[in-house]
Amino acid sequence: MKKQPAVITGTVGMDAHVIGTKILSRALKDAGFNVVELGMQVPPEEFIEVTQKTKADAILISSLYGMAELDLRGFKEKCKEAGLKDVILYIGGVLGVGRQDFKEVEKKFKKLGFDKVYPPEANLKSVIEDLWNDLRAQGKA
């Protein structure tokens, strides 16, 4: 049996919407992940530091307050600089200010380096399936 995969969760920047990331974290734990829960208002740098320290396989970022794009510019590059080119990046929530076309949002955040982008109120069962698949593709599960 492979080791239990480790993942990091939290809301980025100044976002105080913590309910989603809390529920997500609990669901990940219930699904057998080792979850490091950073809670709300996590600076991008903190996600990176904690990933280095814990050797986590994935970062799952929440953002609902609409300012994620500002918070996450250059995030993927910083991950790479920190030697985390393989870490899986997921993001979910309300990823812009105002009613958005999700297709556009997805494109934008994929360009920013995210592997998967989820609309508000994403189904957690399929999120977790996606995550297992991505981990398997990297030989980590």
């Binding site: 920047g13 100044m14 976002d15 105080a16 913590v18 309910i19 809390k22 529920i23 609990r26 809670g39 709300m40 208002q41 307050y65 609409g66 300012m67 794009e69 500002l70 309300v94 812009g96 200010v97 105002g98 009613r99 958005q100 508000p120 109120e121």
Partner: protein
């Protein structure tokens, strides 16, 4: 650790010293001239005074709509408030962006500049500190309505009041329980004492600013006794600093009997406790009903209209002076001007039709809910006063540490989080886990029976997962959650 903050008015001298530091935080602080600001406030017509507007609604038997309005660029914000006033809005709560709410004015400045440059809003609210007094007076003067800044830190409040805004929604428990991660309640109360003291300073000079209170808003389905106890604490803190007008903001969880019971209980207990502690001259111009549970998913336009209409209906039946209805875009993001107009047109239809009828009614269950909540609130306040040896501030700080005040799903690491709420079979909020809440045994029994009733009906134990299902229920057109499947 020693508690430094107490229930005591800040001396004027010390207050004026503190102000200097606050005003130095950003260049626009220089624009605030307190005596000129008081004079400006006193020159404002009644239509711009929050308390007067509310009292007028009460006298005329109207329920006014509270929108939520904050967009980064001043010109857009002015256009937005004009749309709102055209839809019959008379209170304008100005949402401040999240950076400014955390005093990160430099970040807000950069995002504001980018918003102006690109024409795309990069902030989720109006950066009031960056705009300063002169600009914000343009906003206040653009329409006949009373303004209230939402989420104003000390400097933001200075600028808001000097600009002619006439309310200050600053609840220490709201900050502590919903917006902060590491800050303690002590720090939040300290901050609110400042803004309340500023409000009191204006009041002493004849300019009445209203403080509106939330108490500790839970992040989910949860009975409202903790919220109400904290609202009373917030009110006592405000009154001690010289605030003369308080408007409670109650939160509707969607169960009519409970929501109405709470709307009846809150002003009654507030009056009683304010009087008891000697703040007899504090006015309570009215009550604002807010909607708490998750809004329907963005795809459900019919559900969105239904939910906002339902909230308007409940507020109108309860004769609330104001109701905070969300727009149909609530689940999707900050609303467009069109969504605002359409949503308030809809809510206003309900409010006008119902209030004109002057309906007096009794709903079964309101009395029970009111009594149960009252007993719970009194037990909590008694315990806080005991812990604080008569000082409600000290008692509250100790109370949070002891879990005498507690809330589920809180973002703040200083919260115990040992409590949980679920709905009963009719949709009323009940305690599933009591944690350390000082709830009398016979009341605990009442909650347990209601929970057992639902457990029997659904043939399952209620637990954390049910609490999550209940969180989503209203958003999906039900009031009680149903199993989401394995």
């Amino acid at each position: 650790m020693e508690i430094k903050v107490k229930q005591k008015r800040i001396d004027e001298d010390r207050f004026l010293e503190m102000r200097k530091e606050v005003l130095a935080q950003w260049p626009t602080g220089k624009e605030v001239d307190l005596e000129e600001a008081v004079a400006y406030q006193r020159s404002l017509p009644e239509s711009k005074n929050f308390m007067k507007v509310t009292e007028k609604a009460r006298k005329e038997g109207k329920t006014l709509i509270w929108p939520r309005a904050g967009t980064p660029v001043l010109e857009d914000e002015i256009a937005l408030v004009k749309t709102l006033v055209d839809s019959g809005i008379r209170h304008i709560p100005v949402t401040i962006d999240s950076y400014s709410r955390l005093s990160q004015f430099d970040k807000a400045q950069r995002a504001l500049e980018e918003s102006i440059r690109t024409g795309r809003p990069m902030l989720n609210g109006y950066p009031i500190v960056n705009y300063g007094v002169k600009n914000t007076r343009k906003l206040v003067e653009s329409v006949e309505a009373a303004f209230s800044p939402r989420g104003a830190v000390k400097l933001a409040m200075e600028i808001a009041l000097a600009s002619g805004m006439t309310a200050s929604g600053k609840s220490s428990f709201l900050e502590f329980g919903s917006y902060e991660k590491r800050t303690t309640l002590e720090q939040c109360i300290e901050a609110s004492q400042y803004t309340n003291r500023l409000t009191g300073y204006y009041a002493d000079r004849g300019a009445i600013i209203t403080t509106d209170l939330h108490g500790w808003v839970p992040s989910g389905v949860f009975p409202f006794s903790v919220n109400i106890a904290c609202m009373i604490v917030d009110a006592l803190v405000a009154a001690e600093q010289g605030v003369k007008s308080i408007m409670p903001q109650t939160h509707c969880e969607g169960h009519m009997a409970q929501d109405i019971a709470w709307m009846r209980l809150i002003p009654r207990l507030l009056r009683e406790y304010l009087d008891k502690f000697g703040y007899k001259d504090v006015m309570l111009p009215g009550i604002l009903a807010n909607q708490l549970p998750l809004f329907p998913v963005p795809q459900s336009m019919g559900g969105a209209f239904a939910y906002l209409n339902y909230t308007a209906m409940v507020a109108a039946l309860a004769e609330a002076e104001a109701v905070f209805v969300r727009t149909i875009d609530e689940g999707a993001g900050v609303a467009t001007r069109e969504s605002h107009a359409l949503s308030y047109e809809s809510a206003n239809w309900i409010l006008n039709i119902v209030r004109t009828q002057k309906i007096k009614f009794e709903i079964d269950g309101v009395e029970t809910e009111e009594k149960v909540t009252e007993v719970e609130v009194r037990a909590m306040l008694d315990k806080l006063l005991e812990l604080g040896d008569g000082d409600i501030v000290i008692g509250s700080i100790k109370g949070v540490e002891a879990g005498v005040l507690d809330s589920p799903f809180s973002p703040n690491i200083n919260v115990k989080g040992n409590v949980l709420g679920v709905r009963d079979i009719t949709g009323a909020c009940r305690y599933l886990e009591f944690g350390n809440l000082p709830i009398p045994d016979e009341i605990k029994e009442f909650h347990r029976e209601k929970i057992a009733e639902r457990e029997r009906a659904e043939g399952r134990k209620l637990d954390y997962h049910v609490a999550v299902e209940d969180l989503w229920a209203l958003s999906k057109g039900r009031i009680v959650g149903v199993p989401t499947g394995a």
